[in-house]
Symmetry: C2
Subunit: 179 residues, 2 copies
């Protein structure tokens, strides 16, 4: 009888712990930041295997030592590769001058990168310190670029990230930049 009571108590305790764990993970999933990441994935048309990569991409250096600064460097390279690859694939005879002009447009923080990022609403998602304004072009741009590093690492292929960028940017670079 005593052993049976003990067993019952153990099972009850385990169930209680499990339910608390479930509640905790549920709480984590339903935080405003996590909900925003879910929505962002839908906008990107890409679902992460490791959501932590997107979480880091949406974290500014003012918020944490674990931030998106190195990601933004890879992301910028992915964007440059994607743009020049698409333009050269479309016209193998494109002049270096024209190619550089398009690359400058797309790499410009103010005219392209921050525009794309703001359109995705990144200024409302990216985590910054209380003293930092998340709407500045540099913050939005860093977060936008970091997304493509996160996708590259998640899939193991930078081309996948480049394709997501190309789709977001509208395919037709000229018109997207003019937005």
């Amino acid at each position: 009888m005593r052993s049976s009571t003990m067993r019952c108590f153990t099972i009850f305790t385990l169930l209680l712990l499990l339910s608390q764990g479930h509640a905790a993970s549920h709480k984590l999933l339903s935080s405003p930041f996590s909900t925003a990441l879910e929505t962002l994935q839908k906008q990107l048309g890409y679902t992460f295997k490791s959501i932590d990569l997107l979480r880091r991409a949406m974290t500014h250096a003012s918020f944490s030592e674990e931030n998106n600064k190195a990601f933004a460097i890879l992301g910028a390279a992915v964007i440059e590769t994607s743009v020049s690859f698409h333009l050269l694939s479309k016209d193998v005879d494109i002049s270096p001058k024209e190619l550089n002009r398009r690359l400058s447009q797309v790499s410009s923080v103010d005219s392209s990168c921050a525009v794309d990022g703001t359109r995705l609403g990144l200024q409302k998602i990216v985590r910054v310190s209380p003293k930092t304004n998340s709407s500045t072009p540099a913050v939005v741009c860093g977060a936008f670029r970091a997304i493509f590093a996160a996708i590259s690492i998640d899939t193991g292929k930078s081309d996948d990230a480049g394709n997501v960028f190309w789709n977001l940017h509208g395919g037709d670079l000229g018109s997207a930049v003019a937005l």
Copy 2:
């Protein structure tokens, strides 16, 4: 009898034309430039579907209007993407400072790009005008970078080109740069 002679003459003429065509294509295949492209493909560990892309990558602006200048722009982006992708995949916590340091190393015309290109013997392959010295770092580097644009366009995937670069560069970036 006359018709038979005519037929015989026609067949002879056709055979002559065919053999000349064969000789011409054979001559093209066995030119020193074409032989060098064959050897280069073996060194790269990559065989082109469209050899014209490698042909263009090995053509300096001083030699022809159809040259490698725009290819070199895409190639430089492919290299930057490949290096930062590999470094971040190996260590997701790499500092932006360290990542930028490695990228500067690999993008430097004198210390890395021209070293890799010269090791491949590109200074002996790249076509330049008689007045141009094909051994200068800028010429070798442009040709080296252009290779990765040519592979990207040939396969439709810049990751394939990035992997060829990574293999050529030795995998361990630190030691390759020190060569």
